[in-house]
């Protein structure tokens, strides 16, 4: 790593820290339902939406009601998107005249955007009309992000509540999040991106003649508005197939920096909000620190292996063995490794380099980041509620080790909570490992592979990990637009999203009912370095133990094969 890389990493962290508290304070007002900066503008719209939907925003919902509303909402919007994608041929704003999607692709895409995954089995510029991009996808980018944030906020409420039944109101949380958080930031953000050169138009595609005399189609479209939300909402679905590596999506070093920053912005603020709501700001920062430490270590490892490249190439006399395959020359090694780590720490999945071309261990970091549950800041909302699973496990084991019934910020952690947490963990492991096993055996799965042995395995593993983790990035050597891949991945995305959300809402409901025990001298502290160390230990140990066999057959085997100069046909 060069000095410039180090400075950039440091600068990134500083700006992130500075932005965290102000945004968190705004979030707090928004979700409390109290007056905030933007109330005068959006307040009337908010009321109008409630009236149209016929909901009472003040109803304090029981967790089951909250979950049902969430599922109904997600189901209806998913179905709407499916129909729209199937029928785009007959709808306006389709200057290229793209056909409707096949059922499997439409289902995969609808599920992908509903679950905030943005796995793309299609190439945006060659498949989707402008209407589909805007009404189906950009719309989902907003609401799926808002749903994730709503769950995290409900969980924070459950944790911080003094003996209550409800965990808030799903409709109020989701709508307020869109109106007061996502929309306003995106408007400013999109304008900034346009200033950097990101396009925003409804033109038909340009045809250019290159120097070689070849005709090249240059895709156009309303890009800036979608890029803004795909980063801020950790959705990650690019307007173009090349995603953030495309000059129209990510034109400058500054746009690259802010796109990376916008991924972590809301997740980071939510962590601070947690600390604030449980009346222990240091706890918020402790969790933040645990995330930041794993994040920085991940960046360092990826960057290290990408800089190192394949040592066999150096032996063959290459001037620089650094691994530039699949990377934009504009971003270079570090900004590619940096972006890859951030996009997988969070459940974003936008990419500015091809992860498939990373060195085995360089690529193992993004893969492991998703396997851990994308809890290193994580997806908007999902990062926090995923992290809380590990926090509860840590608190449970540590609590026993100091000789008390484990408690988390004053609430006792008992069988019920552990049951929900373990359920979510089992579903995660089942979805990732189970589907990978299926994909690795089924000829229809193997048909999509373009690489043999360890790397081919890594591609399958990465695909289902990305789907289950709702990340959306890929080891793109895989040809995934087949019915087999579309259907199985759609299910992986569904499991990874809702079988994680619902148990965590159940935890919220269960915790909400409990008394808050004032933390005395005798309780386990969740705001010191010992807690940070333990939390990191539990995350890495649980993650490693679950996925070590799979990782050892994929990236680890590949790494040693590379060092030994092993060739595959």
């Amino acid at each position: 790593m060069t000095t410039r890389d180090t400075i950039q990493l440091g600068l990134y962290l500083i700006v992130l820290i500075l932005a965290t508290k102000p945004l968190a304070l705004h979030l707090e007002k928004v979700f409390e339902g109290s007056k905030n900066l933007l109330s005068p503008i959006f307040g009337p719209i908010e009321k109008l939406i409630y009236r149209l939907l016929g909901v009472n925003p003040d109803e304090d919902q029981h967790w089951t009601k909250y979950s049902i509303d969430l599922l109904v909402f997600s189901g209806v919007t998913c179905g709407f998107t499916y129909l729209l994608l199937r029928a785009q041929k007959f709808l306006p704003l389709n200057p290229q005249g793209f056909a409707g999607m096949t059922p499997d692709l439409a289902y995969n895409t609808a599920m992908s955007f509903t679950t905030n995954t943005n796995w793309q089995s299609y190439g945006g510029e060659s498949t989707l009309s402008y209407l589909s991009q805007m009404l189906a996808l950009t719309f989902h980018n907003f609401i799926s992000a808002a749903v994730g944030i709503a769950v995290a906020v409900a969980l924070i409420r459950g944790i911080s509540k003094k003996e209550g039944k409800g965990i808030g109101n799903f409709w109020a949380d989701m709508i307020r999040c869109n109106l007061y958080v996502l929309l306003p930031i995106c408007i400013v953000y999109a304008l900034f991106l346009i200033s950097q050169g990101v396009i925003q138009n409804f033109h038909a595609y340009d045809i250019a003649t290159t120097l070689e005399g070849v005709k090249q189609t240059i895709a156009q479209g309303p890009v800036a508005s979608q890029v803004a939300i795909k980063m801020l909402g950790t959705n990650g679905g690019g307007f173009f197939n090349a995603n953030a590596a495309h000059p129209y999506e990510n034109p400058t070093a500054l746009s690259n920096f802010f796109q990376m920053l916008s991924i972590f912005l809301i997740p980071s603020a939510l962590v601070y909000l947690l600390g604030r709501r449980v009346r222990n700001k240091k706890h918020g920062w402790a969790v933040w620190a645990a995330m930041a430490i794993i994040f920085v270590v991940g960046v360092l490892i990826t960057a290290h292996y990408e800089y190192q490249g394949n040592p066999k190439l150096a032996e063959l006399g290459c001037s620089s063995p650094a691994n530039m395959e699949g990377k934009e020359a504009r971003f270079g090694i570090f900004n590619s490794a940096f972006f890859a780590t951030i996009t997988t720490d969070a459940s974003c999945g936008a990419v500015n380099a091809m992860h498939d071309s990373f060195t085995p261990l360089g690529g193992a970091v993004p893969l492991s980041n998703i396997m851990l549950g994308e809890i290193i800041f994580g997806g908007v909302g999902s990062g926090l509620y995923g992290m809380l699973m590990y926090i509860l496990l840590t608190v449970f084991i540590a609590g026993l080790m100091i000789g008390r019934t484990p408690e988390y910020v004053g609430k006792k952690i008992e069988g019920r909570e552990i049951k929900y947490v373990m359920f979510a963990m089992i579903v995660m492991a089942l979805s990732i490992l189970g589907f990978t096993a299926w994909g690795a055996l089924d000829p229809r799965g193997l048909a999509g592979l373009n690489n043999p042995a360890g790397h081919g395995f890594s591609e399958i593993l990465y695909a289902y990990t990305s789907g289950t983790g709702n990340n959306g990035s890929a080891f793109a050597g895989l040809s995934a637009n087949t019915p087999f891949w579309n259907w199985t991945l759609a299910f992986a995305m569904f499991f990874g999203r809702f079988f994680m959300m619902i148990p965590m809402l159940a935890v919220a409901g269960s915790l909400a009912k409990k008394k808050i025990h004032p933390g005395g001298e005798g309780t386990f502290r969740v705001d010191n370095s010992l807690f940070v160390g333990l939390l990191i230990g539990v995350i890495l140990l649980v993650g490693a133990l679950t996925f070590f066999p799979a990782l050892s057959l994929g990236p680890i085997a590949e790494h040693f094969d590379m060092l030994q100069g092993h060739l595959f046909k």
Binding site: G399, I402, G403, I418, F547
Partner: protein, 674 residues
């Protein structure tokens, strides 16, 4: 009960029980070990298949794996059986006290009949005379008797039980030494105190505590996760064009699932109960023991718990112009017939100061009465009185028109300020001086409170004394807080207010008026001398009637949880090394590159797998003593305890198996077993 863990007699029984417990119906209650048993069965089948299909070399390996998997289950059973055995030995002693006896029942009409003690029901009235055993738990409703309770307490000195008041409860199986009492039976057969306790220590009715349930869910969850990690390895291997045999997959699974804690979990629980019983404490449920570990606030009665209960004379302060010699002589005379502990202490102190006790030739002893609040002596040389300041003042004024010098009132005030009780002595009109009676704090109590504070528990002293007195004692004993001038109902209110704040409250008590507070508290330790009402309200009984024992109970509760948590951490941390042993071994031939993960340099794949399995089995045996004794517990701040345990069982848990598996590998290959 010997403290040796490896008692040969116990081991023999435990060994037999280990096999009985192989019954799947029993084992299914422990999901982790049940999975191991299924694995053992499948591996054994694979072994026979190897033999009959002629795979000689494979059979040796599979056979050894099968054998060690069975050992793993047996070791787990053995640990549980050992713990139960120790409990049973304890229970045998108790059962001796539960022998059937004859009972003399008085029917409603007043007729006497002789019945067997087992037919007695709640509400029956029995009469017990000197030399007879008390047939069942009950309350004395008539009479007073001295009773030998050594059968349950081990204490040989007889105790007094009498109708009414706070010492009316009697326990079945104890023996009346003198007099005759009438008892109302308070427990049906099988529900008596002894029965419940025997059932608890035998582990027969061991209900899982909330923490144990939560931990079991965690362990079962991890088992499923590891099952997924192992099962999916088979298709992954097919993709890699290699095959993994069933015994190897099972070996990996058994090594990964938390067998260590799964095997020892129930032993830890039973042993925790056992440690309580060894300290002569009976708990009504395992839950109560764990709750003890969670206590935030301890309410302690001043009298009997913090102080030795009686005030003792510590100083004579003569009034101006009075010789101290005279004061002491008169005090001695006035106390000669006073048999209260306070009176005795005055005599003792005076004699220590060289005054010879002399009983007056003639005279009338004036006993203490609640009305006059004085006692003394009327004899030929006049009247002597000792008593509370205002009583004596009134007495001197009305009978002799005497006055009290300001110096004496000053002395009285200063004694009260120091937390003492001033006792004024007067002879006729003359006030002779003041005796300083002092509450004596139990020796060593301050250190105990230090320990409690280190655990993060707040101590609150409860007393009926006035604030000044209470403050002085509280400072001397080193409690965190005190509540003075307490009426019985205040206790209940105090507990409720702490609980409303979300705190867990523990207390010890004995009287009937303590019963509501004991029932409300999260952990209520009742003295064995207490009333039946109190005993039913509390959830633990101390046979030694030592109120400070609640501190030890807290420690036992904490130690129980710490042992569970530490072994869970250890068990999970162990898996790291096992992966490094088994994964490269499985893929040694198909993905030679993975040999780089064989950082222990294990001889060959079979030896690596076998060594991991063997390590996994014998670590259970190695940890049995720890699970029965509990991990070392020192009262320290939670952070310190955690740091220590994370270091030993977390970091240690990662490192130890690397060393252990390597050693076993060396032995296994030296013996040519693989």
């Amino acid at each position: 009960m010997t403290s040796s863990i490896w008692n040969p007699e116990l081991m023999k029984t435990a060994l037999r029980d280990s096999f009985i417990k192989l019954n799947p119906k029993v084992l299914i209650k422990n999901p982790v070990m049940f999975v191991v048993e299924i694995g053992s069965v499948l591996t054994t089948i694979a072994f026979f298949h190897d033999i009959f299909s002629g795979g000689e070399s494979n059979a040796l390996f599979t056979g050894q794996i099968a054998l060690w998997l069975w050992f793993t289950v047996l070791f787990a059973n053995f640990a549980e059986a050992m713990a139960e055995g120790r409990g049973k030995a304890q229970a045998e002693n108790l059962k001796k006290a539960r022998t059937e006896t004859k009972a003399y029942r008085r029917s409603k009409s007043g007729k006497m009949e002789t019945v067997n003690s087992v037919v007695l029901r709640k509400g029956d009235i029995v009469v017990v005379e000197a030399g007879q055993f008390i047939p069942a738990d009950g309350t004395v409703i008539e009479g007073v008797a001295s009773i030998d309770e050594s059968a349950i307490t081990g204490e040989s000195a007889p105790v007094i039980r009498e109708a009414g008041g706070d010492r009316s409860a009697v326990t079945g199986g104890t023996k009346v030494l003198s007099d005759k009492i009438v008892i109302e039976i308070t427990a049906n057969p099988g529900e008596a105190f002894l029965d419940r306790m025997i059932a608890l220590v035998e582990g027969a009715v061991r209900q899982r505590t909330p923490n144990e349930i939560a931990l079991n869910i965690l362990l079962a969850g991890l088992t499923i996760v590891f099952l997924l990690a192992t099962v999916t390895l088979k298709p992954f291997a097919i993709y890699m064009h290699t095959s993994i045999s069933l015994p190897i997959l099972i070996s990996l699974l058994v090594c990964l699932i938390p067998t260590t804690i799964g095997a020892l979990l129930s032993a830890i629980g039973i042993a925790g109960m056992d440690r309580l019983v060894q300290r002569n404490v009976l708990a009504m449920s395992g839950r109560a023991v764990e709750a003890a570990g969670d206590i935030d606030v301890l309410l302690l009665d001043k009298t009997g718990t913090i102080t030795i209960g009686n005030r003792m004379a510590c100083e004579f302060i003569p009034a101006p112009g009075v010789n101290i010699q005279e004061l002491m002589e008169m005090a001695l005379l006035a106390s000669a017939a006073d048999l209260t502990p306070e009176g005795r202490s005055i005599v003792t102190l005076a004699e220590k100061k060289g005054i010879r006790s002399s009983t007056p030739q003639s005279g009338v002893i004036v006993p203490f009465s609640a009305e006059t609040r004085m006692s003394g002596l009327d004899y030929d040389q006049g009247s002597i009185r000792k008593g509370a300041f205002d009583s004596i003042q009134t007495w001197v004024k009305t009978h002799f028109k005497g006055t009290v010098s300001p110096e004496v009132s000053l002395d009285v005030k200063s004694i009260a300020l120091k937390g003492g009780t001033p006792l004024v002595v007067a002879k006729n009109a003359k006030i002779l001086g003041v005796i300083h009676l002092k509450d004596v704090v139990k020796p060593g109590i301050k250190d105990r409170f230090e320990r409690i504070r280190a655990m993060g528990i707040k101590t609150v002293m409860i007393t009926g004394d006035n604030r000044l007195t209470a403050a002085a004692i509280a400072a001397e004993a080193g409690v965190d807080d005190f509540l003075a001038e307490v009426k019985p109902e205040d206790k209940l209110r105090l507990i409720k207010s702490y609980q409303a704040e979300g705190r867990m409250v523990g207390m010890s008590g004995d009287g009937t008026n303590d019963a509501p507070a004991l029932a409300q508290s999260d952990v209520g330790l009742v003295m064995n001398t207490g009333t039946q009402a109190a005993r039913e309200a509390g959830n633990m009984i101390d046979l030694d009637s030592d109120p400070t024992k609640i501190i030890e109970i807290v420690e036992i509760g904490k130690q129980l949880l710490i042992t569970r948590g530490s072994l869970t951490t250890f068990s999970i941390a162990n898996d790291v090394a096992k992966y490094f042993a088994i994964i490269p071994a499985i893929f040694a031939s198909s993905i030679p590159a993975l040999g780089a993960l064989n950082i222990m340099a294990l001889r060959n794949p079979q030896s690596a797998i076998l060594s991991a399995v063997i390590f996994n089995a014998i670590i259970i045996i190695a940890l049995i003593p720890l699970s029965l004794r509990g991990v070392v517990y020192r009262p320290q701040s939670p952070s310190k305890i955690l740091e220590r345990n994370v270091f030993i069982y977390g970091i240690g848990g990662i490192i130890i198996p690397f060393i252990g598996i390597k050693i076993i590998d060396v032995v296994v290959s030296a013996l040519g077993l693989a």
